[in-house]
Symmetry: C2
Subunit: 247 residues, 2 copies
């Protein structure tokens, strides 16, 4: 065994929800340029669904997920992670506290989505937002998008509940067949209000809207799972390039 068998992991704080955590690992593998197993990014996924619900904590005074998330990130750090990814948008309401609890870099999913918009040819424009009620109400996307020159189109409270939350709950309950219609309805409404692109800004939403059905929706979609995976791949490629130059 050589020294490469230990550490050097991408640490993934998953479980929020568990299908989103696993889908992140799958999309990470699918989007990594690799010809054989050994060229993929070593990943340690802690897919622990027992973390208290992020939306309930923010919207209804439920138990805070922060101590669980901090404990999870520290576990990943102690286990050899060199970079942290958190495939849950709502969890990023606590981003600063999580980042302060570890010496590792923590990817920011909202920034990853904005980088993805630029990659998709949208350096500015009107961006339609989908996500949990907590993510949208607390302006997690709006603040960063507006600071970087974008306008936002946000569903109203009733639409968030009927289309976004309905779809998210269906994914979390493994009713994928019920998740597509409400999500698609929201996308169509945001497009009708002039959105140049729509953000699937909750990691359950990419599971509700399968890649194969996206072209039919007639608007650019950015997927927070894929955007975070691309950010992780970019970080690893930059690290390897630095190592190559230093060698």
């Amino acid at each position: 065994m050589n020294s490469h068998s230990q550490g050097c992991y991408l640490g993934v704080l998953g479980g929020m929800g568990p299908m989103a955590g696993a889908a992140f690992a799958l999309r990470l593998a699918a989007l990594t340029p690799a010809a054989v197993d050994q060229q993929h990014i070593p990943t340690l996924l802690r897919n622990d669904p027992r973390i208290p619900d992020r939306s309930s904590a923010h919207m209804a005074g439920g138990e805070s997920p922060l101590p669980y998330m901090v404990e999870g990130v520290r576990f990943l750090e102690q286990s050899g992670a060199q970079l942290i990814a958190i495939p849950c948008n709502t969890a990023h309401l606590w981003y600063e506290q999580i980042a302060a609890a570890t010496r590792l870099p923590v990817l920011h999913i909202i920034q990853a989505v904005i980088d993805d918009l630029r990659r998709l040819g949208l350096p500015r424009g009107r961006i339609g937002l989908m996500g949990t009620a907590a993510t949208l109400k607390l302006g997690l996307y709006q603040q960063r998008l507006q600071a970087q020159g974008y306008d936002c189109v946000v569903p109203d409270e009733d639409e968030v509940e009927r289309y976004c939350m309905e779809s998210i709950r269906a994914v979390k309950a493994n009713r994928l067949e019920d998740a597509y219609a409400p999500a698609a309805e929201c996308i169509v409404r945001l497009r009708a209000r002039g959105a140049d692109a729509v953000v699937l800004g909750c990691t359950e939403l990419p599971l509700a809207v399968p890649h194969a059905l996206r072209p039919s929706l007639g608007v650019t979609l950015t997927d927070s799972i894929d955007a975070l995976a691309l950010a992780a791949i970019g970080h690893y490629q930059a690290d390897r390039e630095r190592e190559r130059i230093a060698a």
Copy 2:
């Protein structure tokens, strides 16, 4: 934080290949009866693709993966795993040595597939086998299936290389679009030789043959990723039932 935030994990020794490890975590979530995040099985997936190739070790005298697999299982045990799953059929050539290196129960993927055949209504019959050349040549499936009253239909060496290995290599290289045709050809050939069911006996093969396309192939398929996930779910449900009775 309550005591449930620590430990009690299903430990997954993944990375063989990385897409199969992630797909296992995804199918585990999809197949678990759960209404909310918190009812899913806490999972720790070490998706480390740096483990030396299992087929090369057995067929071409390459570096042994065993020390890496033992180190991985011990890491999972130390991290709070209570049960181990290894979503790689070929890795089970070393099952006895891995199981001897940990005090945890280790699910056996081949036995999980045979249990799945019974669940699918096939307590006996002719079973077509697909897998790596190493898995098939060393009789990993044949020994257990025959001991439990099944007959086996095995592709010849040329078919293994042209259909099974070609499809497996395409998945490992992220060329999913090239993986379906050779796998489907092998399934059709095994069916023509009288197979009552065909085993996708390498964890890359379920990725090559998407669920949506399976009904068109005209033969019962058992999928070693799904079978292993169902075995893990069954193990957890039995544990919870024991806890309920003891409480």
